[in-house]
Symmetry: C2
Subunit: 204 residues, 2 copies
DNA sequence: GTCTATAGCCAGATAGAC
DNA sequence: GTCTATCTGGCTATAGAC
């Protein structure tokens, strides 16, 4: 199960579009290539999704809805901050290794069209920092961690976790790694990064 | 001095191309728009740069050569690791606030065309991690910092500094900031980030 | 629902006058 | 060096047969 032939046309199109859009972006993608990958012709793309723009939006929303739940570990889980950081770093990196194009796709298209995010914010299920901020405030009050602005901490956490997937070509070049050793490098970050963050906010 | 009218045509073109390519990328940019911004016509673009591709390459190399020296503070400066981190974080953030499109442009186009970096590596002046690695090894040996892989530390440092410029729309949405408060937020990172990193590698 | 054929447009590139 | 005009190809989108 799970082979392309088992899916209906609409799903085949969305799969193919995901593939092409996520690696080449909106402007760099061609409807012809999507049609070829889906094993149908261009006319069908328009029959199901009316326009390139609408097909792109479907792919984008789909991608974002895949990404957003990953933040739950850090934002809404009830465990201690230290556990949240450990779990998030491991889970998120594992997930991204399976979807390496995703971060760049989202970041890229949001930078190109900032209005996209407004549409996303209207949706229920858009991640919120409320609980995370409370948790940080509590652990600071209890003396468990050093005083830090919760927004800054949040950005640091996602920066350290996402950047290796955004800057892969750059980092590979600087550190002289090939794809194989880069994979090992990222794998190690599952523990490296959480240790790094926990050290940084540890009360001394 | 410095006004567009004082520059020769070739420079005007490069300036205009920089503008358009850096905000819209290779695929999203139009030669017509570049010509308009440069105050000339399309034919001139081809007269000076032969093709869109070559014009783009000129802009890209130019952008990268602007970015690379910024890494010298962290890679080749002779001061202590702590000072390097402090200075780099401040300098880099200051520089990027003046060129906010740069990081996304570089990252984006490198992801779309990984061969670009091979061409860049051939150039003299491509940043090298040698001295930084020695410095890290020394300070570990002297017990000044906790043991850490130099590559991982390097990635952490640039991740924390670059990500706010890559993920601006996303972060703005999560933290409910407008452009003005986002600028304040990034300004604060000049000290926040270096403290964070120094805490993380402090020997305890 | 699925196809072929084509309309209609737009972009990069070039020819050729000045 | 700089311009106008135009070629040429490729792309999104649609018409219309089956």
């Amino acid at each position: 199960m799970g082979k392309k032939k088992d899916k209906n046309t609409e799903e085949q199109i969305l799969d193919a579009a995901k593939n092409v859009f996520q690696s080449k972006g909106m402007d760099g993608s061609r409807m012809q290539e999507i049609a070829d990958k889906a094993g149908i012709n261009k006319a069908m793309l328009h029959y199901y999704y009316r326009s390139k723009h609408l097909l792109f939006e479907a792919v984008f929303k789909n991608a974002f809805s895949l990404l957003a739940p990953q933040l739950n570990t850090i934002l809404n889980d009830d465990s201690s901050l230290e556990d949240k950081i450990k779990n998030f770093t491991t889970d998120y990196t594992t997930f991204m290794m399976k979807h390496p194009y995703l971060p760049n796709f989202i970041i890229q298209e949001l930078n190109r069209n900032e209005d996209f995010i407004l549409k996303l914010k209207e949706n229920t299920g858009f991640p919120t920092l409320e609980k995370f901020k409370e948790k940080v405030a509590n652990e600071i009050k209890q003396g468990k961690i050093t005083p830090i602005d919760a927004d800054q901490l949040f950005v640091n956490i996602i920066a350290l976790n996402i950047f290796p997937f955004l800057g892969k070509p750059l980092i590979k070049a600087f550190t002289h790694k090939d794809d194989k050793s880069y994979k090992v490098f990222v794998e190690k970050r599952k523990t490296e990064v959480s240790n790094f963050i926990i050290n940084a906010i540890k009360n001394t």
